[in-house]
């Protein structure tokens, strides 16, 4: 029973991080119908920048509480990622908005390769350990354990998602975003500055990605220049599972994918008689993606028709 509960906790924590990244994919897709391949790399950049800042501060000012250091790391990483998101939209996507569909996809891949390699040149190829500044408390919960980091991730993602829902549904910008997603042309006829809305979407998505990147690296205690690739792939699968273009869908899809992964990795050994082990954790997202595309291409919550040329 406690193993079940433990997997549940792990899955929820992992899933809420996926949900944060998935929101970035789904917002951009909702408005531009473009898969922003570079989104995973923005997550990675957020983690790397925050780690560098935290590490430097921890050396320069020992004794400062870890939470403050983490806050400083986030305070640098979030604007850096926002700027990156803005830059990528401006340079790689905007000029190609009316080009054949293949063109922005290819530049998106180019951009993610560039970001990966820049990170590799700056921070090297090795895994970077998360500085040991965070509280390492462990709490007992009905026979399972939950760490301080996990609690913080759950709380923070809940707050962020609530804030995002408020922004999208209660503010002027949110209304403009929803209008642009429905029809770019009509929105611009109604006086919405479509370019600004699209830029804002990228900026918000990148900020979420930065937070998610820091969370992932805090959770696993590691960061790596290649970490964005798989994370992005999984988050995209989560967005498709929930129904791409749908905010609630991305959250639900993220949580579900986290749970599927965690339970899958926990029980696959027993289910296959030891033939497949927990190192297949990374393949679940992919099978979920295929299954959704076969049986319900619009995702769990998506009502939009996906099939369009």
């Amino acid at each position: 029973m406690d193993i079940f509960l433990q997997q549940l906790i792990n899955g929820l924590v992992l899933g809420s991080v996926y949900a944060l990244v998935a929101l970035g994919y789904t917002m951009v897709y909702g408005i531009l119908e473009l898969i922003n391949f570079a989104h995973g790399e923005i997550t990675m950049m957020g983690a790397m920048v925050a780690l560098a800042v935290i590490g430097a501060l921890a050396l320069a000012a020992p004794g400062v509480p870890g939470v403050l250091l983490l806050g400083a790391g986030l305070a640098v990483a979030i604007p850096v990622c926002m700027a990156l998101g803005l830059l990528i939209e401006r340079v790689a996507y905007r000029p190609l908005r009316h080009a054949p569909r293949l063109a922005p996809l290819i530049t998106a891949i180019g951009v993610s390769i560039i970001l990966q390699n820049i990170a590799m040149l700056i921070w090297g190829k090795q895994y970077i350990p998360f500085p040991a500044v965070l509280p390492q408390g462990r709490h007992d919960l009905f026979g399972a354990s939950i760490t301080d980091v996990q609690i913080a991730i759950l709380l923070l993602t809940t707050v962020i998602m609530l804030a995002l829902v408020l922004v999208v549904h209660k503010t002027r910008l949110g209304r403009a975003m929803r209008a642009t997603a429905q029809s770019r042309q009509v929105a611009s006829l109604m006086g919405v500055d479509v370019n600004r809305v699209i830029a804002a979407t990228f900026v918000i998505g990148s900020a979420l990605a930065a937070v998610a990147g820091v969370m992932v690296s805090a959770y696993y205690g590691l960061a790596h220049y290649y970490m964005g690739f798989l994370l992005g792939l999984k988050a995209f699968s989560a967005a498709v599972l929930g129904g791409i273009g749908n905010l609630g869908g991305a959250m639900l899809g993220g949580l579900l994918l986290g749970l599927i992964e965690s339970f899958g990795a926990g029980y696959i050994g027993d289910l296959t008689g030891g033939f497949l082990g927990s190192h297949y954790q990374d393949v679940f997202a992919f099978f979920v993606l295929i299954a959704v595309l076969v049986f319900r291409p619009s995702g769990l919550l998506g009502a939009r028709v996906v099939e369009r040329a």
Binding site: E33, H98, A99, P100, G110, I114, V283, F286, L289, L293
Partner: protein
């Protein structure tokens, strides 16, 4: 006047040139460059295969290397001491290509009904999954030998004639790399021929129609799903074929040879050269195979100018590929050697 020159003369010159090329390269630059030439031909085959999918049909396949890996592993399983099997190459190559095609159909069936971007991400995932399986299927039953890979793979052998040994014919000594060159050249020419015939066929025109406007194509009675599936499976077939050749050529394969960067590099070849244009694709493949050799000099420059090597030239390669993808798409979307049709297509839709 080039125009009035008879075609056979051009062909003869080309044939003589291509036949003598490995000897000239061997004499001028050394044996390792002949090996590089072999590899370049392999990449020409791969790029032409991917060109069918991306260039003709306009489907972005980012997991192309998975089919390459399948072909290579099929070859390794059936012609190495790993399972103790040593089947002849002419039996294995079609088998590997066929298996790759089968996987292509399995993967394409659910995704090709949907928009193209889904295909991109699903193939991206597929490439990664295949690699994870290759890395981990060594226990409890050793199928792939895990990260160590499979070695001592048989070279291509015809009768008692092995491509790994030197042969003496009419007083000329041909080394293994020379012989491989001729085999690869033959197969590359076959792939080029098939590509050319496809381009001019009913199927090829249907692909172009789908690429340019899927709805209009469907309205004109083209079965878009089946034709997209055909393009995808055909690309996979060429990938599988090249994989088998790669395994026999290297004699050793491991999952690390088939990572995402390899897929990106092949994509880069056709984007850079000119999507959907055979001379462009060949040019792109040759350029990007030889580029790492040229990049090696940047290491020398760094040492001469700065005293030490700051940036490993091998690391610089992928960065340049990324930049090339973005810059070419922004400023020369039809590639360096574009086809006339493609150039018009991009000019039409832009602006």
């Amino acid at each position: 006047m080039i125009k009035t020159q008879p075609r056979w003369l051009v062909f003869t010159l080309l044939a003589v040139g291509l036949t003598l090329l490995p000897f000239l390269v061997d004499a001028g630059l050394g044996r390792s460059w002949v090996r590089l030439l072999d590899l370049a031909l392999l990449y020409v085959m791969l790029a032409l295969g991917l060109n069918i999918v991306v260039g003709y049909a306009g489907l972005l396949d980012l997991g192309y290397v998975a089919f390459y890996a399948l072909g290579a592993y099929v070859y390794a399983w059936l012609a190495s001491p790993h399972f103790g099997l040593h089947l002849p190459f002419w039996a294995i190559l079609p088998l590997g290509a066929g298996l790759a095609a089968l996987f292509g159909v399995l993967l394409g069936t659910p995704t090709l009904r949907l928009r193209g971007d889904y295909l991109a991400i699903v193939t991206l995932g597929f490439g990664e999954i295949i690699r994870i399986f290759l890395n981990n299927l060594n226990a409890p039953v050793n199928i792939t030998n895990g990260p160590q890979g499979i070695n001592l793979i048989d070279p291509v052998r015809v009768g008692g004639f092995s491509l790994s040994q030197s042969q003496t014919l009419f007083g000329i000594t041909l080394t293994g790399v020379h012989l491989t060159y001729y085999l690869f050249l033959l197969l590359t020419l076959a792939v080029i021929f098939i590509s050319m015939r496809l381009e001019d066929s009913r199927i090829g025109r249907a692909w172009v129609a789908i690429r340019e406007d899927e709805i209009a194509a469907a309205a004109n009675g083209i079965n878009t799903r089946n034709l997209k599936l055909l393009a995808f499976a055909m690309g996979a077939t060429f990938g599988g074929l090249a994989g088998g050749l790669f395994a026999s050529f290297q004699g050793f394969i491991s999952p690390e040879s088939f990572n995402l960067m390899e897929s990106i590099m092949i994509l880069c070849m056709i984007v850079l050269g000119g999507m959907g244009h055979i001379p462009g694709v060949i040019f792109g493949a040759l350029l990007l195979t030889l580029l790492p050799e040229a990049l090696r000099y940047t290491g020398v420059w760094q040492r001469n100018l700065l005293g030490q090597i700051y940036v490993d030239p091998a690391d610089l390669r992928m960065l340049l590929f990324g930049v090339a993808l973005v810059v070419v798409m922004l400023y020369r979307p039809a590639g360096l050697i574009p086809s006339r049709r493609r150039r018009r297509e991009f000019a039409d839709t832009q602006g």
